[in-house]
């Protein structure tokens, strides 16, 4: 909904729903889309898991970017979006705080075995949580997290604040704060970020087209999102 007075030079604002892992590339992607298409674009962030209900209830978004393909498939099968495209690949890693307990963590196996480390992961309804569950299952490990946070950024924040010693998040998230230490995971799980136009919305397919341009791929690559 846009009341008189909102928006800028070209009038209305076009909304894009994006997974919270894209928070730090939003400014650059917004500028790119605005230059490409001559429209005002505004990103809003949340857990991809919540997008189905939001679009079902008529959230005013022209395009949607999910963190993984599973949530995008749900949007597609609910007939809420047009056919989606892959825009990037991301992987899971461990981030730790600079506490003594945090610094000692050197692998997923160590983390799973540790009794001292306070670990947080994403909720199973969020893509990063589903990927974490898959990762642990593949590795045959069990983890006793202190909390399952609503989305990847909330999970990361608990480590930045020092409340948790470690978290399992996307590789791109580890770059956002200088005090975070990242630990690679052997045989990690990849997640594919996908973008799609919301059915019946103007500008949606233009936005998706623009997101797969070389310029957009470069912005994503600079932030650590590899090519799909």
């Amino acid at each position: 909904m846009c009341f008189a007075g909102c928006g800028g030079s070209s009038g209305s604002v076009v909304d894009v729903l994006a997974a919270s892992s894209y928070t730090d590339v939003a400014d650059e992607l917004e500028t790119l889309l605005e230059d490409d298409l001559g429209i005002n674009v505004r990103f809003s962030f949340g857990s991809s898991g919540a997008f189905l209900e939001q679009l079902n209830q008529g959230a005013p978004a022209a395009a949607v970017i999910t963190a993984d393909d599973k949530t995008m498939r749900r949007l597609e099968s609910a007939n809420l979006v047009d056919a989606s495209i892959a825009i990037n690949r991301n992987d899971l890693i461990i981030v730790t705080s600079d506490s003594d307990v945090g610094r000692a963590i050197n692998s997923l196996v160590y983390l799973a075995a540790s009794d001292d480390a306070v670990t947080v992961v994403c909720a199973d309804s969020a893509p990063c949580g589903a990927a974490t569950d898959q990762l642990l299952k593949q590795a045959g490990l069990t983890l006793s997290p202190a909390s399952r946070e609503p989305n990847v950024r909330a999970t990361l924040t608990k480590v930045i604040l020092g409340e948790a010693d470690a978290a399992i998040v996307y590789g791109t998230d580890a770059r956002v704060h200088p005090n975070l230490r990242s630990v690679e995971i052997v045989d990690t799980v990849d997640v594919i970020g996908r973008a799609a136009a919301v059915k019946g919305k103007t500008h949606g397919s233009d936005i998706v087209e623009s997101l797969r341009s070389a310029a957009a791929t470069q912005i994503l690559a600079d932030a650590g999102f590899s090519a799909p």
Binding site: S47, L52, V118, A123, S125, A146, S147, R148, P150, E163
Partner: protein, 265 residues
């Protein structure tokens, strides 16, 4: 004689009734009646319900234990300190709960002002059930203190003075005379505080996190289920609505009873 409001007033008054009533109606309308049991028997629902009852009742008990002395102190004071403490008591009511959660983290988190001392003793409140109770205590204490303080201020102090003159100590007067005479307000304040604790979301998820069986209370479970299983989320929401209606039914006698007796006096 009662003056009946004109028709246009009735028309305007109908709008908020619809705004308040429609969500309740919609929730019951969308309730999957045939699958109620299944949704309530799920592990997430059972543990959230149990955890919510334990934490909200614990928070209420703490509100009564610590709120009564505080309300007594506030009701007798007139100075600047009293006004400052009362403002402090009002704060959690006007503060967005999520901001309360951030403030709790900065104070009682592992690296918080108080929390780092607790951490040295091996106590971590964040991510614990005790942390949930603390968050609920923080947001619900004002409701108890303010209801009880109001009753204490309006109380007929004659009996208390008689008892005091006859040699009863202040503490004895408070427990034997004052508390029984403000019992309705204590009950109403407790129910209000309990209801607020039960519905607490923002401060809990920010400070205590969300883990099934330990910190995931009913409102947090609803929020989580909304993304994975919306139908179950509706059922759990209905549980909270039923509890809310029960609170209103309880308060109808207690709370309005107090008001009525005040008006008559």
């Amino acid at each position: 004689m009662t003056i009946r409001p004109p028709r246009w007033v009735v028309a305007i008054a109908a709008a908020p009734v619809i705004v308040l009533g429609a969500p309740l109606f919609a929730l019951l309308w969308r309730l999957p009646w045939s699958d109620l049991g299944g949704a309530l028997r799920s592990e997430a629902a059972k543990s959230a319900l149990g955890l919510s009852l334990i934490t909200s009742l614990s928070a209420t008990v703490l509100c009564v234990l610590f709120g009564l002395p505080l309300a007594w102190l506030l009701s007798t004071g007139t100075g600047v300190m009293t006004r400052v403490i009362r403002a402090l008591c009002l704060l959690p009511i006007v503060l967005p709960p999520v901001v309360g959660g951030v403030a709790l983290l900065l104070a009682f988190g592992r690296r918080g002002v108080v929390g780092q001392w607790l951490a040295d003793l091996g106590i971590q409140l964040s991510f614990s059930t005790a942390g949930v109770i603390l968050a609920q205590f923080f947001v619900s204490l004002p409701f108890f203190v303010l209801s009880v303080e109001a009753a204490l201020r309006q109380m007929d102090i004659e009996f208390a003075e008689v008892a005091h003159v006859h040699g009863a100590s202040p503490a004895r007067v408070f427990t034997a005379v004052t508390v029984p005479s403000i019992a309705p307000a204590i009950a109403a304040g407790s129910v209000l505080a309990w209801a607020r604790a039960l519905g607490e979301f923002g401060a809990t998820v920010t400070f205590a996190g969300s883990l099934q069986g330990r910190t995931q209370t009913l409102p947090l479970a609803v929020f989580n289920l909304l993304e994975s299983d919306p139908a179950d989320a509706v059922v759990l929401s209905a549980v909270l609505v039923v509890l809310a209606v029960a609170v209103i039914a309880l308060l109808r006698d207690r709370w309005f009873g107090v008001l009525r007796s005040e008006v008559q006096r």
